[in-house]
């Protein structure tokens, strides 16, 4: 009896340690390479330049010292985007007073989603740059950064409702522009995990 409960306690400790380990270290996602000196180089979001809803250029330099959540959407999207925006609003409101947190929502329909359209959308959603940037720009550049850097699906498809197929992913990027997590932005529980991971990156946990 006693040995059984001891065994259980040890087992519990063991799993406890394991899960602790997992909790502390967020993974570095994406392809890793070795540099000349043999050190691991993690996948990093390359330099970018897009226009936000205030017609201001947003670049990787604006993300220095920030952690951010990236996603892909378009303003006339009737399918998953509204769910994603509901979830992003939770993050936006939670970190209202935290200047280290940013949101970058890239339009995958930049020809329609010009600055004025994005501005209107932002006003209706009651959100403001620079904390939440709605981005437009060169379509090829947006698709390329989505597919290659943020590792999510984004392309045109006339068979799809709204004319585009894209993933509902939220991508968590750290202060060094490394991808540290990818979450399903249409699911509340998954976004709860995202918030937990943001807390870790912010050093609150």
């Amino acid at each position: 009896m006693c040995s059984k409960s001891l065994f259980a306690a040890i087992l519990l400790c063991f799993f406890g340690l394991l899960s602790c380990q997992e909790k502390h270290d967020l993974p570095f996602l994406g392809p890793k390479t070795l540099n000349a000196t043999g050190d691991t180089v993690y996948h990093q979001i390359p330099p970018f330049r897009f226009l936000n809803q205030d017609s201001t250029w947003v670049t990787e330099k604006d993300m220095e010292g920030k952690i951010y959540v990236a996603d892909f959407f378009f303003t006339t999207c009737p399918t998953i985007c509204p769910k994603m925006k509901t979830q992003l609003l939770r993050i936006y409101e939670r970190y209202a007073a935290n200047d280290v947190v940013r949101i970058l929502s890239h339009s995958i329909d930049p020809e329609f989603d010009q600055v004025s359209v994005l501005k209107n959308y932002a006003n209706k959603l009651h959100i403001e740059a620079p904390r939440w940037n709605l981005l437009t720009g060169d379509k090829k550049a947006i698709y390329a950064i989505g597919q290659k850097s943020y590792m999510v699906a984004a392309q045109e498809d006339s068979n799809e409702v709204g004319g585009f197929v894209h993933s509902g992913a939220f991508i968590l990027v750290d202060k060094n522009r490394h991808v540290r997590g990818i979450y399903d932005g249409t699911k509340e529980e998954d976004v709860n995990h995202l918030i937990e991971d943001m807390e870790k990156l912010l050093g609150n946990k």
Partner: protein
């Protein structure tokens, strides 16, 4: 005998009404709730709250039928059309909307839907 006939007639209508509400709820969740939310609250000013009585006063049911089917473009706000929805689907959605938030809890008939759709096809 006559009373019995009437009673069963009533309940037939009632059953049809309940069927429309149930089907309409499923269709609402698939085609409308993403934006207007399951409880009809909408999302800020982006997607209007369809639970608002004011909205019901500003739209007649024929207009609403056409709006559901064909959507709207323009300054009053964009809404994508649901062109794959058939008349019966829209009748069921309308019945569900009325049951939830509308002024009259009554069936919105298939005939009324077809009639409204004909009208907006000619004005398109």
């Amino acid at each position: 005998m006559l009373a019995l006939g009437l009673a069963s007639c009533d309940s037939k209508e009632e059953i049809l009404y309940q069927q429309y509400v149930v089907e309409g709820r499923v269709l609402y969740q698939t085609h409308c709730a993403n934006c207007h939310q399951e409880n009809g609250s909408g999302l800020k000013d982006l997607y209007p709250a369809i639970s608002q009585p004011a909205l019901w006063k500003s739209l007649n049911t024929d207009e609403l039928t056409c709006l559901i089917k064909w959507g709207r473009k323009g300054t009053k706000g964009y809404m994508p059309g649901n062109t794959k929805l058939q008349a019966l689907d829209i009748a069921e959605i309308q019945t569900f909307l009325r049951e939830q938030w509308g002024p009259q809890k009554a069936i919105y008939s298939l005939d009324s839907t077809r009639f409204a759709l004909k009208k907006c096809e000619t004005t398109l």
